[in-house]
Each structure stands twice: as structure tokens, then as C-alpha cells.
Amino acid sequence: MNFFKTFKKETIQIFEIDNLILKPISKNDIEQIRIWRNEQVSFLRQTNLINSDEQISYFNDIVYPNFVLEEPKMILLSIFDKISTDLIGYGGFVHIDWKNKTSEVSFLCDTSFMNNPKIYKSCFLNFMKIIIEIAREELQFKCLYSETFEFRKNHIKNLESLGYTQFGIKKNAKLKNGISYSSMLHQNKLSNV
């Protein structure tokens, strides 16, 4: 597993595609990520707003200890614009199941992209191309999963354009403006199981 060997030695492994660069998430990125998460709380499983201290604790206690594990539970990467070098989002593998070689994929981008479907789509699809390649080639994962609230119709279309198919539904997954919404569970087969 080349990815983890370099990851564990703290060699900065960089993945590039078109206009994006992905790097292991660093402490410099986590405050901006916290702000985006709070702004987009209605799209996330997260229910409460998080403050700076909580964010730092979460990364120190939960995220960063994974960096030294042989089989981490999550691998999070920051996403940068190649030209401006600005941080524009983050995402990666969460709830990794090493035994069965599966993982959920998370993705969150700059809140300003949420109002521009073209930019959002480009960022998401390019991110996913790298993620799928890492999952298939570096990690030898067999399948990727995703959970999306039903009101994110464009995001679901984007997922399905990558070959994801719906395999489940969780009702009452999100309460938004007094209305209960379901989440759609999608999966993407990467290799024969």
C-alpha cells in the first residue's frame, strides 16, 4: 500500500487532476473547514454548530491519530485549486471497512460553490475521479458508498453519472425547516467482490 507508506512517513503525497490538488488534511485547513461545515449544516449528518475548540479537539483526538494507523478508519484530504492554490474543500474515505474493502466517501466544498451548480459539479466530479482512482489502484477497495439527503437532487445526479447506483433508503434522516427528509444510499462497485 504505497499510499499509506508515504502517508505514515509524513511525506506529503499529492494527487492532481485537471485543476485540483489533493493533500492530506493539515492543521492550517481545519478552521476554514469548520466554517464551511457550520454554513452547510443542513446538508450534513452533523446536527449542531461546532466551535473552534471542538474542531481542534476532533481533529487531534479522532482524525490525526488515524494517520499513524496501519488500517485507519478515515483518510481525509484537503482540496486546493491548482492555479490560485486556495483551499476549496475537503473529503475522503470515512467508515473504512478494511476487512471487506469498502468505504463511505465524504465531500464538502467552499460554500460559495453551492450556489453555482457548474463549478460545484466540476469540483465534485474531479475530486471523485481522484478518489475512485486511489480507492481502486492504491487501496484495492471493492466498493464505495455514499449517503445523500433526498433534497440534494443535483448531487445525486452527479453521483449517478459516476456509476453510483441507489441500493437503499434511510427515512427520517434529516429534519429541515420542520420537514423530515430521507437519505439515499448509493454504491459504486469498483471490482468483483
Partner: protein, 209 residues
């Protein structure tokens, strides 16, 4: 509202009658083709002998009726597209009404999600289920669909109700579900895999209390 347990069901053979689903679709399919009565009669002999899940009914039938080969692809496509009025397992509505009062209900099935969702909806039992997982990649007996189910619930107990001894309970047991075997065929089983074996689906009412 507080819910005590999660009760997770298989669909075929537990909620809906799987043999009826296959048989009725074959019956309706044959009506759309010019097939002799003798040929159809022989089909049902093979169906009874080999079982409803056997995928080579038509191949076997074509040994005596070679003309079947000519229309095989079309017949199979028609069969797959055929939608029938589903037959629920006896007393299933009564059970679901009872169980849903203070328990979450969910589904784990190996079938195609769109097809299974549609069948539950047309059977008017879809609304009982809080989570539906039809994993075609990690099929039972894999533990993956059970792990996913567990992720969403923090209940006193997790139950899994299935009727396929060889596929339903290995993953369930490895994820600490209490296993309920709807054993209406009186199959021999190991107590390592099965916590409760029942012949009447309504017996679940007593087990979850």
C-alpha cells in the same frame, strides 16, 4: 418517540410470498406467447421439480420443445418486466402493525433495490420500514449490510428475521443481531446461528417483548 428495538426483515419468504411471485409472473408471461398447453404443463413439472429460483427452466424445457429456444430471450425479458399483484405472507400486516408501535423496522434484501422497493410499495407495507438496504454487491451472508444497518440505530436489541438458513444468519450473527428463523419448511439448523426458530410469523410478537 422512543423505540426499543430494531427488527430487520428479509423480504422474500418473510414478508412476501416469493414462490407466488415467480409462479404468477411465469403464468402471465406464457399468456403473451403462442405456447402449447402441453409445453406449459411440462414447464410447471420442471418448476415444481427444480424449484422457483432455478434459472434454467426454459433450457430444460427446450430439450423437448426446441421452438422455445427461438423465443427464449423474449420470454425472459417479458418475465422480468412482468409486474403482478404481490401476495403477502399470512398475518404480516398484523405483525407489522404490532411491531412498529415501539420498534424500528428495517429491511435487508439481496434483491435489486428498485424492484424490491416497488414490490413493498405495491404491497402497501413500505411505510412500516425506516431503513431499506438491498445490497447487490455485498449480498448476504456478507456482514456488510448488517454493519450498515447498525450504524443508524442505538436500540436495546437488534433482531433479524429471515427464512434462508444458509444465507440470512451468518452476517446477522457476526454483527450481534438476535436471529429469528422463520422455519416454516422445518429445516434442521444449528443453535450457533439461530436464537429463535418459529413456524408462525406472529410468534415474533412474543420474542420481542
Amino acid at each position: 418517540m422512543y423505540k426499543r428495538n430494531l427488527i430487520c426483515f428479509d423480504i422474500d419468504g418473510v414478508l412476501l410470498d416469493e414462490e407466488y411471485w415467480f409462479a404468477k409472473r411465469w403464468e402471465n408471461t406464457f399468456k403473451k406467447f403462442d405456447i402449447s398447453e402441453d409445453c406449459i404443463k411440462d414447464f410447471w413439472v420442471i418448476f415444481k421439480k427444480r424449484g422457483f429460483i432455478y434459472k434454467k427452466h426454459l433450457d430444460e424445457l427446450s430439450l423437448n420443445y426446441p421452438l422455445i429456444n427461438k423465443y427464449k430471450k423474449e420470454i425472459i425479458q417479458t418475465f422480468k418486466r412482468t409486474i403482478i399483484k404481490e401476495k403477502k405472507i399470512d398475518n404480516i400486516k398484523e405483525l407489522l402493525d404490532y411491531c412498529s408501535k415501539d420498534n424500528y423496522l428495517s429491511i435487508i434484501s439481496n434483491g435489486n433495490y428498485r424492484i424490491q422497493y416497488d414490490r413493498l410499495k405495491r404491497s402497501k407495507i413500505l411505510e412500516y420500514f425506516d431503513l431499506i438496504i438491498c445490497d447487490e454487491i455485498f449480498k448476504k451472508p456478507s456482514a456488510v449490510p448488517y454493519q450498515m444497518t447498525k450504524f443508524y440505530y442505538n436500540t436495546q436489541e437488534l433482531f433479524y428475521v429471515g427464512n434462508e438458513y444458509t444465507s440470512d444468519f451468518i452476517g446477522a450473527k457476526s454483527e450481534n443481531f438476535k436471529t429469528i428463523f422463520f422455519n416454516n419448511q422445518n429445516v434442521e439448523y444449528s443453535e450457533n446461528l439461530i436464537d429463535y426458530s418459529i413456524k408462525n410469523i406472529l410468534d415474533i410478537k412474543n420474542l420481542i417483548n
